[in-house]
């Protein structure tokens, strides 16, 4: 039974509104993801490793996947892909853009990019969002 102290309320609320019961494992994941000053990017494997390092009783892989998926479906995480067949998740859910620099990802605030011209959506469709990836290379 999760102790319902105020300190955890915000993290528990994210779980509940994602359709998840706030179990101990999930609350810890939610805190790990959202209890920080700056947003960040991660893969499920990275998340699992960094959380389980500190724990005697490990959280299982399936729980990480389940929790991340639910948080993503509820809109608390954004998913994106690089060219390496791995899903990345971003705790910055505001519309924004990315630099990709050899597997490293750097956020670009949405106000740093504006458009002069954008195409119409095909008929019957509308634009959900627009995301820009700026690929970098070394300057030599």
């Amino acid at each position: 039974m999760q102790k319902m102290n105020n300190k955890n309320k915000i993290f528990i609320d994210k779980l509940r509104s994602s359709g998840l019961r706030p179990t101990n494992q999930r609350v810890e994941i939610s805190k790990f993801l959202f209890n920080r000053k700056k947003t960040f990017h991660f893969t499920v494997e990275e998340l699992k490793n960094s959380m389980n390092l500190k724990r005697s009783k490990k959280i299982s892989t399936a729980t990480f996947y389940n929790t991340v998926h639910a948080l993503k479906s509820a809109g608390y995480l954004k998913e994106f892909s690089l060219e390496n067949n791995t899903s990345y998740y971003d705790t910055n859910i505001s519309s924004h853009h990315h630099f990709f620099d050899n597997g490293k990802v750097i956020d670009i605030n949405s106000d740093k990019i504006t458009f002069r011209k954008l195409p119409e959506a095909p008929k019957g469709k509308k634009i959900k969002n627009v995301e820009v990836v700026i690929r970098l290379e070394n300057n030599n």
Copy 2:
């Protein structure tokens, strides 16, 4: 030994300049990819299935992967990723953009999108390219 008729020269040249000997399997793949009016998108699995359907002697999976990788490294194919952990390849290598509509990909000509403002590259880096993904949803 590949018969070196003119009809295949262009496809063989792509292979050679990708560092590949023009074996029969590779020439067929090159023709399948580039001997068409319109560019297209594919996964290696899709490529393999559609080519092998018509063949009595199947081309192996490894040959598809090897050939596609070499063509991509040489710049004859562009790679991109959706959120499903699969690599997609595009025979349209000109700089362009995409609509993503529930796993379907539609090209957007690069002249359909222009920028009013773009960020500087971090120091020591320069911009290799800029790609825009416009995600679509149904209009209801």
